[in-house]
């Protein structure tokens, strides 16, 4: 593979504590190396910022609910799908872009890795087919476990070893990456038309509580020593006053120790925390509790979060939190899709318009940004929009602008219809903090890579790491006075190199790259009880057989498998 030398750029690499120093980056055979020969292609990054490829820890970009969103929202493509293009494939859609647009847009923003945040195990073949159809970016997918009949039964009986053996089996057959938990117990309760809105609400039939599920899955995660921590979408998402249950859930991580060989320090990743940091007892008294939640996150070192920032766009909500989607469709009266995934999970899809002239939407916008601005440790606080739930991922550059510029925040705040009411219900107006490029690199690159246990490959520019490099039109010595220039720079990288190959040049896609599917294969000792339970459930309860359940190798033709033995 060709050699590349990136010269004269301002390198920002938190993994090596490099903050804007002018150094060269050498690339050979898809990796960062010490030096390259004189025939290497030279890219002059003079006056520009050089960062590692971005790492998105939570985004819904592949699988059945994304596709249901595409099918039920043809209007999402209207006037947003250009006619044929010269060098690459047709792109379409906005909040639920086509697979090709997904790959291209992430690449244009300089992102190298994206985690599909919720894979229903039964539908994992579909997830992998779409991942395969998404060019350029490396991807992995988190199967959902928080409402699995197996998991609920094992954890009810405190059988962590059996739960671990089941999860190890499932990660292998679905080519999954780690343990995702969505509304633990609540999505299972939805099959009875119920929900679990507190940590002690019993799950119907299984007689286990969300608190027990969360604790059990954290223990199972560390028993297996997976690269990523347990990744949770908490109970009672999106409701006024939910910050108390959020804090209660976060406290479950106290005293849980990490055990892994992937450099991860955390045991819980609490995702789209913006949706879980609400005060008040109705939409009328709705207010920000960002400070209360972030005060706890800042001092509790073994948890990480991502923001889930509201971007004030028309978007499509989709989640395995089935009861929540039913709640939304009753609020906005828009079309609703709902499904039950046999023994595993549920899901729903509803369009949603975040309107800057609606007070609650303005407050939600403020809360997401406040959480980023209150963060004491940007290595545990990551930028996301819970794409597409709070807004499309293509708005990350706008969120970066808001986090880096008080002026930009004030301008947006002033454009609201209810500016004063939003100021009264939040703290954003009084917050002067402006994040640095170094902190942004921690929140979008080094931090998420470490929390995912992928710090040896992604998130930095050290020798031996994957050669994922973004070059952005920002001069650290002369940062633009106009915050719009920050958004523009991060929206279209000057250059993006992925796995050592030039993908973007002057903001345009020039190659489809070599994407990979990353999955985790923990080898556990054979567990006859679990093998029998699996056979039993496939005979009695599933509509498919165990032989048709597995994701065949041809569906993930470019695998990168993280295989290791679990010490009992």
């Amino acid at each position: 593979m060709a050699e590349i030398l990136i010269k004269n750029g301002f390198v920002i690499d938190p993994t090596r504590n490099i903050n804007g120093d002018v150094t060269d980056i050498a690339i050979k055979d898809g990796q960062i190396v010490e030096s390259v020969g004189s025939k290497a292609k030279v890219i002059d990054a003079n006056g520009k910022v050089v960062m590692a490829g971005g790492v998105d820890i939570h985004s819904h970009v592949a699988g059945p609910k994304v596709n249901v969103g595409r099918l039920m929202r043809p209007e999402d493509k209207l006037f947003k799908s250009p006619h044929n293009q010269k060098n690459y494939r047709m792109e379409s859609g906005f909040s639920i872009p086509s697979t090709f647009k997904t790959g291209y847009d992430y690449a244009r923003m300089g992102y190298a890795f994206v985690m599909e945040a919720a894979m229903p195990p039964l539908h994992s073949p579909h997830v992998h087919e779409e991942i395969h159809d998404t060019p350029i970016i490396d991807q992995a997918a988190l199967p959902v476990f928080g409402n699995s009949w197996f998991v609920l039964e094992y954890l009810k009986n405190e059988e962590i070893d059996n739960c671990a053996a089941y999860i190890a089996w499932l990660l292998k057959v679905t080519k999954g990456f780690g343990i995702k938990v969505v509304n633990p117990g609540g999505s299972s309760a939805w099959a009875w038309g119920l929900n679990c809105l507190t940590l002690s609400d019993p799950v119907p039939y299984f007689d286990i509580t969300p608190g027990e599920i969360i604790k059990g899955l954290m223990k199972t995660n560390e028993y297996l020593g997976l690269p990523h921590s347990m990744h949770i979408h908490q109970n009672d998402l999106g409701n006024p006053g939910n910050y108390e249950i959020t804090l209660e859930s976060l406290r479950l991580a106290e005293g849980v120790a990490t055990k892994n060989n992937f450099g991860r320090d955390t045991v819980m990743h609490s995702t789209h925390i913006q949706f879980h940091s609400y005060g008040g007892d109705s939409w009328g008294t709705f207010e920000s509790k960002a400070r209360e939640v972030m005060d706890y996150v800042n001092k509790q070192k073994n948890i990480s979060i991502d923001l889930g920032c509201v971007t004030l766009d028309e978007t499509t909500t989709m989640t395995a939190d089935g009861p929540f989607e039913h709640h939304i469709t009753n609020l906005n009266h828009l079309k609703w899709a709902n499904t039950d995934v046999e023994l595993e999970t549920a899901a729903g899809v509803v369009p949603y318009v975040y309107d800057k002239d609606i007070k609650v939407n303005g407050i939600q916008w403020a809360i997401g940004l406040e959480m980023g601005l209150y963060a004491a440790d940007p290595m545990r606080t990551f930028i996301t929009t819970d794409h597409p739930n709070a807004g499309p991922f293509t708005r990350y550059p706008r969120i970066i602008k808001w986090l880096m510029s008080k002026q930009a925040r004030e301008e947006t705040l002033a454009s609201f219809k209810h500016t004063d009411k939003v100021i009264d219900a939040t703290n954003i107006h009084s917050m002067d903090r402006e994040l640095s490029l170094f902190e942004i690199a921690q929140m979008t690159r080094a931090g998420p890579a470490k929390a995912l246990g992928l710090a040896s490959m992604f998130g930095g520019l050290g020798v031996g790491m994957d050669a994922n490099v973004g070059i952005f039109d920002l001069n650290v010595k002369d940062m633009p006075a106009d915050p719009e220039a920050i958004e523009k720079a991060f929206a279209r990288a000057c250059w993006f190199i992925k796995s050592g190959e030039i993908i973007v040049k002057d903001g345009d896609i020039v190659s489809h790259g070599n994407k990979r599917t990353i999955w985790v294969k923990p080898n556990v000792a054979e567990n006859p009880q679990v093998i029998r339970d699996i056979q039993d459930k496939f005979l009695k309860d599933y509509t498919v057989g165990s032989d048709t359940y597995e994701v065949r190798d041809y569906l993930a033709p470019n695998p990168y498998v993280i295989e290791f033995d679990v010490e009992a």
Partner: protein, 267 residues
């Protein structure tokens, strides 16, 4: 008022998408610049000059620009797409999407139009001397935000799905209509001066429908509440008043539920 005349010179092999035939796109442009405007035939990009002989002069603004199409547009879509002002006269038939997403100005079609005439229209006026196919003044597929304003008058008859998800404005069909009128509507007025077969007002939340002929099959979700005398589009008559769709949600105004109204002329 300055006028541009377009004379079709050849029939496109595929359907031609002429989203740039609008007073907005033509205003302030020379004949040569107008001839260079994009159009699409299938996936192939072409120019207006490839299919039309262009003469006359454009105005400085859309408001001051009149477009006269001298010939048949049966294979031409998107005439007047998103236009905000000025006027277009089509001396013949037109294909789909005449006046789609239109915000202002006037379109006059001397012949018939195909489907999606006035789709998601926000303002202005469309008059069709002949018949319309389906989806007059409907919403884009999937969208819950249909026609918001303006007037569509079809002097002939129309097909199915008239005013789907309508929020405002007026649609007048002077002869008969087929099925599905104002489905899911939350506002606006549809007047059908002839007969309609059925499925009138299905899942309708708010808005008005007048039928001056007969409704062959009434939906069970509509309830007769009385009789009213009214003058509608120049016709004075007594109507039977129905409210509905009783199977759909209805907003409250001043403590009372608001229903959609269906008025059918008494025989």
């Amino acid at each position: 008022m300055a006028q541009i005349t377009l004379k079709p010179t050849k029939v496109p092999e595929l359907y031609l998408e002429c989203y740039n035939i609008t007073p907005d796109a033509f205003a302030g442009k020379s004949l040569r610049q107008i001839a260079e405007l994009d159009a699409h035939e299938g996936k192939t990009k072409v120019t207006l000059g490839d299919y039309f002989e262009i003469s006359g002069q454009s105005g400085n603004t859309a408001q001051e620009t009149t477009i006269n199409i001298d010939g048949d547009c049966s294979r031409i879509k998107y005439i007047g797409n998103k236009m905000t002002a000025g006027s277009i006269t089509i001396n013949g038939n037109a294909d789909m999407y005449v006046g789609g997403w239109m915000k202002g100005g006037k379109i006059h079609v001397m012949g018939n139009v195909d489907s999606f005439c006035g789709i998601a229209m926000e303002g202005g006026e469309i008059v069709v001397e002949g018949d319309a196919q389906n989806h007059v003044g409907c919403a884009y597929r999937g969208d819950w935000r249909g026609m918001r304003g303006g007037t569509i008058r079809i002097k002939g008859s129309a097909g199915n799905d008239i005013g789907t998800f309508m929020l405002g404005g007026t649609i007048i069909i002077e002869k008969d209509a087929f099925i599905h009128v104002s489905t899911h509507a939350e506002g606006g007025t549809v007047i059908i001066k002839g007969n309609v077969q059925g499925r009138v007002g299905g899942q309708m939340v708010k808005g008005d429908i007048y039928v001056l002929g007969s409704v062959q099959y009434m939906l069970p979700g509509f309830k007769k509440v009385g009789s009213v005398e009214q003058k509608i589009d120049g016709t004075e008559a007594s109507f039977t008043h129905y409210i509905g769709d009783l199977g759909e949600r209805h907003p409250k105004s001043k403590g009372k539920e608001v229903y959609a109204n269906l008025y059918v002329q008494e025989a």
